[in-house]
């Protein structure tokens, strides 16, 4: 049995008048009897339909084995009772052979499985998702090969990539208590020791109907799709509760620093600051602050680091929204031979200036406009639309109308930007990572 809750459009008009047709407002939200939320958004102008299953579990939920959320995501592709006879990677092959794409990703907060296919293949991909949720087989044999694949992924993204090294190190500094400190891909030692039984237990704990959101966007018929989702997911169990890690990050009371030695020509510099959760009203001001600092050639860091000091090519700053506590990062890959300390001083001085004096109206308007355009342009595909509605629903429990997102950005004043920079990007809250080669005479270094 399914109950249609609402069309988001009914909620939007009373707050902010949209300036154009916001496609996400047509989303229909349906809750199945077992607690599964299904978001459907028809758009017959596209030749594609995107099916996404969002599991509200990420590496931030791990307790014993790091990397298990992501490793498990890989296991979801390796076989199930009724598909294993078709050979390895049968899910992927069945979708690819019909021209579709199938993939998944894991973050600190969520694990997302998706298929983008032609409309006639939607029934197949709903059935395939249902099959792996119903009849997943997690065997030691499959795990043996896959853990090596994941260890190679770890080498690619973290161990062999200096920017990956810097990022991993910065997260470990910024979070001392919260599991966000651990890389989503996990530590090699844990990947080597986790068993099929551990993966199974992970599935049993977190993959319950009331911890999942199904989003479908693009060219399809809502009633037909809902009937199929009901058929293939309606039997999924409801968990009485989903365990969450209790840790909350204590306030940081002094700068933390890490040096990573890696034989790079171009040193890397990264400053990380723990920020508020995704539910905080301060996230918009932090996004705008990141734009003022490093959004484009006219930004403060670009002018100071690239045009004046000539120490870097492309400085970056961003606020990474996370459910429990986000992180603000500012940094740059420096030009070969650059003075790392000088570059660090420039970045921290620019942040201090923004904390001391509010940005000008025009500077704020510029940063805000970039975010507005990004929102408006970022919904051209069925996949992007499905991602947007699912992301909103998982984070806020509803679809946030675009007009509301834009209004929130427009409500940010220069003083707000100054306040959040002063509050969150204070010197005693920063975590600085430098990546550079070891000195030639330093022993025991790679």
């Amino acid at each position: 049995m399914a109950v249609t809750l609402s069309c988001v459009g009914g909620l939007a008009a009373e707050s902010v008048q949209p300036e154009f047709d916001d496609p996400a407002l047509r989303t229909r939200i349906t809750k199945l009897a077992n607690g599964l939320d299904v978001l459907t958004l028809e758009d017959h102008a596209t030749p594609v339909v995107s099916l996404q299953v969002w599991a509200k579990v990420g590496s931030g939920d791990e307790s014993r084995f790091t990397g298990i959320a992501h490793l498990f995501e890989h296991m979801m592709f390796l076989g199930s009772k009724n598909l294993s006879k078709l050979g390895p990677e049968a899910y992927t092959k069945l979708v690819e052979e019909r021209g579709g794409t199938i993939n998944a990703y894991t973050s600190r907060d969520v694990t997302v499985y998706f298929e983008n296919v032609a409309p006639e293949h939607l029934p197949l991909v709903i059935a395939l998702e249902g099959e792996r949720f119903a009849n997943l087989e997690v065997t030691e044999e499959a795990l043996k090969a896959e853990r090596q694949v994941v260890i190679e992924e770890r080498r690619l993204r973290s161990e062999n990539d200096p920017e990956g090294i810097a990022f991993e190190s910065a997260m470990a500094l910024a979070y001392q208590a919260h599991p966000y400190r651990v890389p989503t891909v996990g530590w090699k030692s844990d990947l080597e020791k986790v068993t099929a039984a551990d993966c199974r237990a992970f599935f049993d704990t977190y993959y319950a109907a009331n911890n999942l959101v199904v989003a479908i966007a693009g060219n399809f018929d809502t009633d037909e799709a809902l009937a199929l989702v009901e058929k293939h997911f309606g039997w999924l169990r409801t968990a009485p509760s989903i365990p969450r890690n209790p840790q909350e990050e204590p306030e940081q009371n002094g700068e933390r620093r890490a040096i990573e030695h890696f034989p790079v020509r171009a040193p890397i510099l990264l400053s990380a600051y723990q920020g508020p959760s995704t539910h905080s009203p301060d996230t918009d001001a932090l996004d705008i602050a990141s734009g003022i600092l490093a959004g484009g050639r006219t930004s403060r860091l670009h002018r100071a680091l690239v045009d004046e000091a000539r120490l870097a090519l492309e400085p970056s700053a961003f606020f990474w929204e996370l459910q429990r506590a986000g992180v603000f990062m500012a940094g740059a890959t420096l030009v070969p031979g650059a003075d790392v300390a000088a570059a660090e001083k420039i970045i921290h001085d620019e942040i201090a200036k923004l904390a001391a004096t509010p940005p000008s109206e025009s500077e704020l308007r510029r940063a805000r406009r970039a975010l507005e355009v990004q929102w408006i342009r970022g919904q051209g595909s069925a996949h992007a639309l499905a991602s947007r509605i699912a992301q909103d629903y998982v984070a806020y429990g509803r679809i946030e109308p675009l007009a509301e997102k834009l209004a929130a950005l427009r409500a940010v004043a220069p003083a707000d930007v100054q306040r959040v920079v002063k509050q969150y990007l204070a010197p005693h809250r920063r975590n600085v990572v430098q990546v550079f080669p070891p000195a030639a005479d330093e022993e025991g270094q790679p």
Partner: protein, 476 residues
């Protein structure tokens, strides 16, 4: 927010009163056991939204209307790029494009950037082997301002001396930075091993020694050589009125003239024997691998056959032979991919992957076995049909957005391919026979003269590499 939460709370009460049962396998065939549904081909290009015009000076104008969102992109393409550079000027197309962004018309670099940033828009200039491209994108309400910026950077770049000096320093730093990236190192040395002194043998962004000599006069001369209306294309996609765009094109670009385009480069000779190169990076625990040889040009008549064959071999995701064996079965890598890189001159056929140091021997053996098997047992029967179904099925999905359709249309123009190519693609792909695939595999796959590049610790790799030929060890 309150409304949605209230509704959820209300229906949660209903949750216990209904339940569905776990599906019973015996009752009906599974969806994946049913014959694949085949829908009629939907047209790729909506003719009613596509508008073309050629100005008197030879400049082509193409507009693809899509008024659903209040945004647009527009750009200019010059139909020559890095491939026409002499060896001594390697990197000049990339340098020229980058310098065009640093001041144009009445605005210096910062004022130009501010004009774009103030609108939350993007301005992008770049060059590849076969073209030099400028584009803007933003909200349609800002079309006039952004189109003016586009016209300025294309027609009136300032090429200031100080900006050129800074850019030279930045490009040289970028070239050095790229050497920290194992994948880019592998590509650089693979192309050198395969193409040697031919222009393709040196990165399109050039070398430190060539870039170091560039000044504003070089950029100005290259700009005059390639950025001009004959053969140039002005395009726009999105929330754009075609009539207004044509009028604006006429006023901004109509009085522009230029000589015919520069001659096209010659193809490189095919390599005669296998070459093995180790790029020594002692600290790496994972080795980047590139294996391949000469391939085909973008206009090669066998390109569809090559694409279909390669979908089964190495470009078809998990359905491909390489992924199936080397990742799914042997667990040697996270990714392995083969491609025919196609330019105006033939580009390489290359397999790219990576694995831990201890498994490089196994990975090379498996990959070479698969290359031999591709020739000895080319895809046929079910395997070929699955690859074909993938290519045919994925084609409209890749062209979902109007921007993607415009990119594909521009690619046809750059390479002089027929304008109906997108709408005939699926029929042509369906018509390819197994015999054509076998002939293509025999003609285009030559593992015996493949170049092999390994980026990793030379000391640990030397013995394995030596099994494939004489080894050259180089510094990054």
């Amino acid at each position: 927010m309150r409304c949605a939460f209230a509704a959820i709370a209300m229906t949660t009460v209903l949750a216990g009163c209904a339940s569905a049962t776990k599906p019973d396998a015996a009752r009906e065939p599974f969806a994946w056991e049913m014959p694949a549904v085949v829908a009629a081909d939907r047209p790729i290009v909506d003719a009613a939204r596509l508008h073309r015009r050629t100005l008197a000076n030879g400049l082509q104008v193409i507009v693809l209307e899509d008024r659903r969102l209040p945004e647009f992109s527009a750009g200019f393409i010059a139909l020559r790029g890095a491939a026409i550079e002499a060896p001594s000027e390697a990197g000049l197309a990339v340098f020229t494009a980058a310098l065009m962004e640093r001041g144009a018309g009445a605005r210096d670099k910062l004022n130009l950037a501010a004009a774009v940033d103030d609108l939350g828009a993007d301005l992008s200039l770049n060059a590849d082997w076969d073209s030099l491209r400028a584009s803007v994108s933003g909200l349609s309400q800002d079309f006039d301002a952004l189109f003016a910026v586009l016209a300025d950077v294309v027609r009136r770049p300032r090429f200031d001396l100080e900006e050129a000096k800074q850019l030279v320093a930045e490009q040289r730093a970028a070239i050095a930075q790229a050497q920290d990236d194992p994948a880019r190192l592998a590509t650089k040395h693979f192309m050198r091993a395969l193409y040697g002194a031919h222009r393709l043998g040196t990165p399109s962004a050039g070398l430190d020694e060539t870039v170091a000599r560039f000044g504003p006069a070089d950029a100005r001369a290259f700009h005059a050589r390639v950025v001009k209306p004959p053969g140039g294309i002005l395009w726009a996609v999105g929330d754009v009125d075609p009539g207004a765009l044509f009028a604006r094109a006429e006023s901004a670009f109509g009085a522009w003239s230029g000589a015919p385009l520069a001659a096209l480069p010659d193809a490189a000779p095919a390599p005669e024997k296998r070459r093995v190169v180790i790029v020594d990076r002692p600290e790496l625990g994972q080795v980047q691998v590139a294996i391949g040889h000469e391939g085909i040009a973008r206009t090669d008549e066998r390109r569809l056959e090559a694409q279909l064959m390669n979908a089964a071999f190495g470009a078809g995701g998990f359905s491909s032979r390489l992924m199936n064996r080397i990742r799914a079965t042997e667990g040697l890598t996270y990714g392995i991919y083969a491609q025919f890189a196609q330019y105006r001159v033939p580009g390489p056929f290359v397999v790219s992957t990576f694995t831990r140091v201890s498994e490089v021997g196994k990975l090379l053996a498996s990959t070479f076995e698969e290359l031999e098997r591709l020739r000895a047992s080319p895809p046929a029967g079910d395997e070929l049909e699955r690859a074909r179904s993938q290519r045919v099925g994925s084609f409209p999905l890749q062209l979902e957005t109007s921007e993607a359709v415009m990119r594909a249309l521009l690619d046809l123009e750059v390479y002089g391919l027929p304008r109906d190519t997108l709408d005939t693609y699926r029929a042509r792909m369906r018509a390819i026979t197994p015999e054509q695939i076998a002939a293509t595999a025999n003609a285009l796959v030559h593992p015996e003269r493949a170049a092999i590049v390994l980026v990793g610790p030379a000391e640990a790799l030397g013995e394995v590499a030596a099994q494939y030929g004489e080894v050259e060890v180089v510094s990054p």
